[in-house]
């Protein structure tokens, strides 16, 4: 059940109606949302509902024990059980075949075939996201940053709340659980700003991301030899904006829908292509993942403390694992390594005392954007031959364009939306939600018709595969 589907519209309408009907009862609110979340999850694959339910119960029990237990040794064991279980499930479903393939490459040298060890797993949707959420919760309870949730239903709802279940943002228990303990502050303004945010996300996904992909990006990446260097470059820019609008569009829909139920989810993007350096980029791109990696991996590894060599090792490990989080494939590992290398270079660069001029900042942004865009090549192209072919195509420096004016128009629109000052968003929201309900509805109904008309291939969200 994709967010951009008729099923989801009907599902959302039914859940909103049920939620409104039981709104006065805190317990029934939780029941409605939990049932809806499990229904939503099972609409993808009902078989794995048991997996997430089992993981929920075990982590719930472990967190309570962790809280009541005073013996450090036992607490460490409990933490180890929780972390191993969650990472174990993730490793089996997501990385097992990847490591078998890697090991197979090595054993092949000795004439040993271990491909029979491969197993056809169906990846449980959203597993990378909810595993990180359970890890956050257990580690925070262990560190006594938060007290464990005693209500199993609320804890289950924290993990499975349907807007963020499939592709994040990665929500921290400290941010979300307190919201479940108060009456959701739903007002006309909040509800309408939620609808606006959800439609903003749908616009990013359906009009910007999908059109960029459908009009040119997919075709150019499929057969780069057919296109000029100029087209290859433009398509690469197109992919950069496609992946941003696809993922940030999903996050906006998730945040907007949550708002309609009275919950706040964290922001996940902050105009990442305006970053002045790679470190800045990671403070703007997939913020919930980058802060998770910082707090639960980079800092425990030692963070910025120690020798420069040690810090760079920490950076590299963090980014390699961050890359691997995206998928069990070498290209994601290389992509993580590429970003790790860029961060190490940035770390090695001496800090300048003098203020950077406007031109300097602009050139930094342009340079950083191109470094990031080159990284997307590694992310998108799964084979070495494909990567070489694309880079060779770029290096031909041939001109001319076979891409349509509509593609250029959508690309410019995407870039324009990205460049729009951040301050415009709240002031526009404030102005828009004061328009009469009918006027707003006419605009939204019109947008739905536009979405139906412009959809070419009904693709899913890119980050659903992670």
């Amino acid at each position: 059940m994709n967010f951009n589907s008729a099923e989801f519209m009907v599902f959302l309408t039914v859940v909103l109606a049920a939620y409104a009907a039981v709104f006065r009862s805190a317990r029934l609110r939780d029941v409605v949302l939990l049932c809806a979340s499990y229904f939503f999850y099972m609409s993808w694959n009902w078989k794995y509902a048991g997996l997430i339910a089992g993981s929920t119960v075990i982590d719930y029990w472990i967190s309570l024990r962790l809280h009541s237990e005073e013996r450090p040794r036992v607490r460490k064991w409990l933490l180890a059980v929780s972390v191993s279980m969650n990472l174990g499930i993730l490793a089996v479903f997501k990385y097992y075949n990847f490591f078998i393939d890697l090991a197979g490459g090595a054993t092949e040298l000795f004439g040993l075939d271990i491909s029979w060890l491969r197993h056809k797993f169906l990846l449980p949707i959203g597993i990378s996201f909810y595993t990180f959420e359970t890890l956050t919760y257990t580690v925070d309870v262990y560190k006594r940053v938060i007290t464990p949730e005693r209500n199993l239903m609320k804890f289950a709802l924290y993990l499975t709340f349907f807007p963020h279940l499939v592709a994040g943002p990665i929500v921290r228990a400290a941010d979300f659980l307190p919201q479940l303990h108060r009456t959701p502050p739903i007002s006309v303004d909040r509800f309408q700003s939620g609808i606006l945010l959800a439609f903003q996300g749908l616009f990013k996904k359906v009009v910007l991301a999908d059109l960029l992909a459908g009009l040119a990006v997919d075709a150019v990446f499929a057969e780069p030899h057919r296109f000029s260097s100029f087209d290859l470059l433009i398509a690469l820019y197109g992919y950069a904006f496609q992946i941003y609008n696809d993922f940030s569009g999903y996050t906006d829909i998730a945040r907007g829908v949550s708002k309609m139920f009275g919950f706040e989810l964290p922001e996940n993007f902050n105009r990442p292509y305006l970053a002045e350096n790679v470190r800045d980029f990671w403070s703007r791109w997939h913020i919930s993942l980058s802060t998770w990696l910082r707090d639960y991996l980079y800092i425990p590894l030692g963070g910025g403390r120690g020798t420069p060599g040690r810090v760079r090792t920490n950076l590299m490990i963090t980014m390699l694992l961050g890359g691997l989080w995206h998928g069990a494939a070498l290209n994601f590992l290389f992509w993580g390594g590429y970003h790790g290398a860029l961060l190490c270079l940035a770390h090695a660069r001496p800090k300048r005392d003098r203020a950077i001029t406007l031109t300097g900042r602009l050139s930094n942004r342009v340079a950083c954007f191109h470094l990031i865009v080159f990284g997307w090549l590694l992310f998108r192209i799964g084979t070495w031959e494909g990567l070489v072919e694309y880079v060779q195509g770029l290096a031909r420096f041939s001109g001319g364009s076979a891409l349509s004016p509509l593609f250029y128009a959508v690309l410019l629109l995407a870039a324009g939306c990205h460049l729009a000052p951040q301050a415009w968003s709240p002031s526009f929201t404030g102005w828009w939600i004061r328009r009469p309900a009918f006027v707003q509805a006419v605009a939204y109904a019109g947008l739905i018709l536009v979405f139906c008309g412009t959809t070419l291939d009904t693709p899913s969200f890119i980050y659903f595969q992670f």
Binding site: S5, E7, F407, L449, L456
Partner: protein
């Protein structure tokens, strides 16, 4: 939470419902098949309901043709037509479609009595025709099976080989002509059937699709796939004990006109296919017709060359692939010319129609 809180949401639902209702009313008054007014619109059901005793499809008789008994009378030949909307053509009466007209012409000019089983349905692929024949052939005992198919398979192959869905090696699912993946849930199907959705898909999406990077060729793998589909069909015909007749596919514009297709034809092609350029479409039809001719010659199958007789004659077509009444008449004439006067039950019936030395293979 109050109604006022959700007023925008409620208004959106009301407005979308209003747009759908308005478009359905418009469609109904123009005689289209709108979901809310389906019973009153022109459809196969309407024909059946008007003359329930004479024409299918009905529950017992699943063909769009004159109802006949299940058992084939001894002196009667049965012509099974496997096609899609080209032969079903719900805009016309059963007698005006080419299967109906072919039966009429054959009965007028042949010594034997002919019955027609029009197993054509909008959206059918060759694989669906094959499955239908395997399922129902033994029960309805056709003497001759004619295949008139191509455009929907081109759409399906373009989706498989050029689109996001890569070939899986499994038999294709039944496609529809909208160019959309076949809806999997009832809800999605209902949404895709609304007049609003179909209107947008027919008018806005082709324009957008025309702006994308389109392929000029389906590729060798798709051609092999098409060939496999035809051969599978012939196998099913042989299994049923009938005689196979292949046809080339006629279109309003041939490959010589590929570079100067009218806008309406280009829009029509992009309405049904989002991956293959209009020029690629025209070339694919020509190449696939070549495959059909090659198979007919290789396997000793009777061939009716509709492409040669009809392509580029715009008076025969109401769009790129569907026939006008004149087009239906022409196909019926071509078919009946080939089949006329052949004694089916004495010796080999079609020896004079088949290439030398191939007669035995066809049965």
């Amino acid at each position: 939470m109050t109604f006022r809180t959700a007023s925008v949401y409620i208004w959106i639902i009301v407005l979308l419902g209003g747009v759908e209702l308005a478009l359905e009313c418009r469609g109904h008054y123009r005689g289209w098949d709108a979901p809310l007014f389906r019973a009153a619109a022109i459809s196969t059901k309407a024909v059946g309901e008007e003359k329930p005793a004479r024409y299918g499809p009905t529950r017992e008789f699943p063909f769009r043709s004159e109802i006949v008994s299940r058992e084939r009378p001894a002196d009667t030949s049965r012509l099974w037509v496997a096609s899609a909307s080209h032969a079903e053509d719900v805009r016309l009466s059963v007698e005006e479609t080419f299967p109906g007209q072919a039966a009429h012409l054959l009965n007028r000019t042949s010594k034997r009595h002919w019955q027609v089983l029009n197993a054509s349905r909008s959206g059918n692929l060759i694989a669906t025709n094959t499955a239908d024949l395997s399922r129902l052939g033994a029960r309805w005992q056709p003497s001759v099976v004619v295949l008139y198919q191509m455009s929907i398979d081109i759409v399906d192959l373009s989706r498989q080989y050029l689109g996001a869905t890569k070939p899986s090696g499994k038999p294709s699912r039944q496609g529809d002509e909208s160019g959309e993946a076949v809806p999997e849930s009832a809800l999605r199907k209902a949404a895709a059937e609304t007049t609003t959705y179909t209107t947008l898909k027919a008018n806005v999406t082709p324009w957008i699709a025309g702006q994308r990077v389109l392929a000029d060729d389906l590729g060798d793998a798709a051609e092999h796939d098409f060939e496999r589909r035809i051969r599978n069909f012939l196998h099913a015909v042989r299994e049923s004990g009938a005689l196979a007749v292949l046809t080339t596919f006629a279109t309003s514009h041939g490959k010589e006109e590929a570079g100067r297709l009218p806008l309406s034809v280009r829009q029509f092609m992009l309405r049904y296919n989002r991956y293959l350029s209009p020029e690629g479409w025209v070339r694919s039809v020509a190449r696939f017709n070549g495959i059909v001719r090659h198979i007919a010659s290789e396997e000793g199958v009777v061939l009716v060359d509709c492409e040669q007789a009809m392509t580029s004659e715009v008076r025969y077509f109401r769009d790129y692939v569907h026939f006008t009444p004149a087009g239906h008449k022409k196909v019926a004439e071509l078919l009946s010319e080939k089949l006329r006067g052949v004694p089916l039950d004495t010796g080999h019936p079609y020896s004079e129609l088949l290439p030398e030395g191939r007669a035995g293979k066809n049965r």
